[in-house]
Amino acid sequence: MIITLDEKISVGAIFEGGRIKPVWFLYKHMKVIIKQVCYRWKEREGENIIYKFTVTDNKSIYEISYSTMTYQWYLLAIDEGSLQC
């Protein structure tokens, strides 16, 4: 089931060669290790470019975003449940 959220989160990410690779994030005091970035895309709201990712810890799918205007990461949605990647 997909749960829609809009929570600020702390993320560990690698910024390299113009690409962002989220590696882990903190959610409910738990460190979620990102095993795979499933999809990435970019959205624009005015001058704010928002990078969006769907990522997985091999258990659930998470949608996270990074705003280049506010330098803030958000957890947008979780699709919980078992997943075999």
Partner: protein, 401 residues
């Protein structure tokens, strides 16, 4: 030679690719959580009887295991833009036909159509984990038909000497410009396929259908003269419509939506330096009946307040609010290019400064960062659907929500 690239179940494929849990499952993409229809569905869902245009209740009835996914328009427009941009790195002769279709002129390429298809398909799959079908033929019409033959992930190349046999294998309705009404009319004339159309003859077709008769005859012979059009064509009108969420909306609520839609039209006119004279209002009711009326102003305008005033007058003339209004649309036509008109001689306010201030705020913080307070009463705000005329740039580009 022309190629037609057609993405396979585009929105559903992007959703499957971005959420591995959905891979291979029957999924349908819907517009919103509220009352809505299936925008597109995966091939697994199609095999189980789900069709585009079904209501979500109908879809769940034919396929109870169906997963409904609320569409993310910005994800689709991003993927589409990237794919179309990639095509222009191979050849500049690319016509973006819709969000998931493009025509590519292959004449200037140094490699054969099969290699082109292999390169493009590999790139799209590697980068976006989705598939496309490519049809190649001597013109757009044949290429488009060819792209539908081996879907999904198909490739079909029709050579010149195969055209007649190829088009004869399709129903009349597969031809561009032949809908169910025209097909029925042709059937009544004893024409059931393209071979019958050719046998009927060009002259007789022209007698019945006028100029369109020649077009039909040429298509039945596999002739289509229009080339891939990479040039930006000028637009004849700017329009927006919005489906209301509320049942039996009050007149005041309709006014709020009219203001919002007028502002969307005006905003696009201002952004692309256009002004127009004719305002057309369309009202659609829950029973799918509709009314429309147009009014031509005595001056050109790009301003929301003029468009809104005119559409309000038209609304009061033609709308029957008791009939449960479902959709409102406003169109500005009679366009003049390179002209932005904020006010006329009777306006007392300095509208130009107001619009310029609003536009610069919205440019920085996003569309509708600042808007009319009454628009906040609308449950739906902003462009929520991707129109078939959507393009990745220019006046037909809309930053959908």
């Amino acid at each position: 030679m022309l190629a037609c690239l057609d993405m396979d179940a585009f929105f559903a494929s992007v959703e499957e690719a971005s959420n591995p849990k959905l891979k291979g499952k029957p999924i349908a993409v819907i517009g919103a959580k509220e009352r809505t229809v299936v925008t597109t569905c995966s091939y697994a869902a199609r095999r189980l009887g789900v069709k585009t245009g079904m209501s979500k209740f109908e879809a769940l009835k034919v396929c109870p295991q169906l997963t409904l996914v609320v569409g993310n328009n910005r994800k689709y427009t991003y993927v589409s833009k990237e794919i179309m941009q990639y095509l222009t790195t191979i050849t500049p002769d690319v016509e973006v036909y819709s969000i998931d279709e493009a025509f590519i002129n292959l004449d200037s390429l140094d490699f054969d159509p099969e290699s082109f298809a292999y390169i493009v398909k590999t790139h799209i799959y590697k980068k976006f984990k989705i598939t496309c079908s490519i049809g190649v033929g001597p013109n757009k019409f044949i290429a488009k038909l060819a792209s539908t033959v081996f879907k999904p992930d198909g490739y079909c190349f029709i050579k010149d000497n195969e055209i007649i046999n190829f088009i004869d294998s399709f129903e009349l309705k597969a031809l561009w410009g032949i809908g169910s009404r025209l097909a029925k009319k042709l059937n009544n004339m004893g024409i059931f396929n393209t071979a019958d159309l050719r046998a009927y003859g060009k002259e007789k077709l022209c007698k019945v259908f006028g100029k369109n008769g020649e077009y039909l005859y040429k298509m039945a012979c596999g002739v289509y003269e229009e080339l891939a059009n990479k040039k930006k064509t000028s637009v004849k009108s700017i329009g927006h419509s919005m489906t209301l969420l509320e049942n039996n909306p009050s007149v005041d609520r309709c006014y709020n939506y009219l203001l919002q839609v007028s502002e969307m039209v005006s905003n696009r006119a201002r952004t692309h330096k256009l002004s127009g004279k004719t305002i057309c209002l369309c009202v659609r009711y829950a029973n799918f009946e509709g009314v429309a009326k147009r009014y031509t102003l005595p001056f050109f305008t790009s301003a929301t307040h003029h468009i809104y005033d005119a559409s309000l007058d038209l609304f009061n003339q033609i709308a029957t609010p008791e009939k449960n209004i479902r959709q409102l649309g406003v169109t500005l036509s009679g366009l003049l290019e390179k002209t932005v008109m904020y006010s006329n001689i009777f306006d007392r306010k300095n509208w130009k400064s107001i619009y310029k201030a609003v536009d610069s705020i919205n440019k920085k913080f996003g569309s509708s960062a600042i808007t009319y307070a009454s628009v906040l009463n609308c449950e739906r705000r902003g462009a929520l659907t991707i129109s078939p005329a959507w393009k990745p740039s220019g006046i037909r580009y809309i930053n959908v929500k």
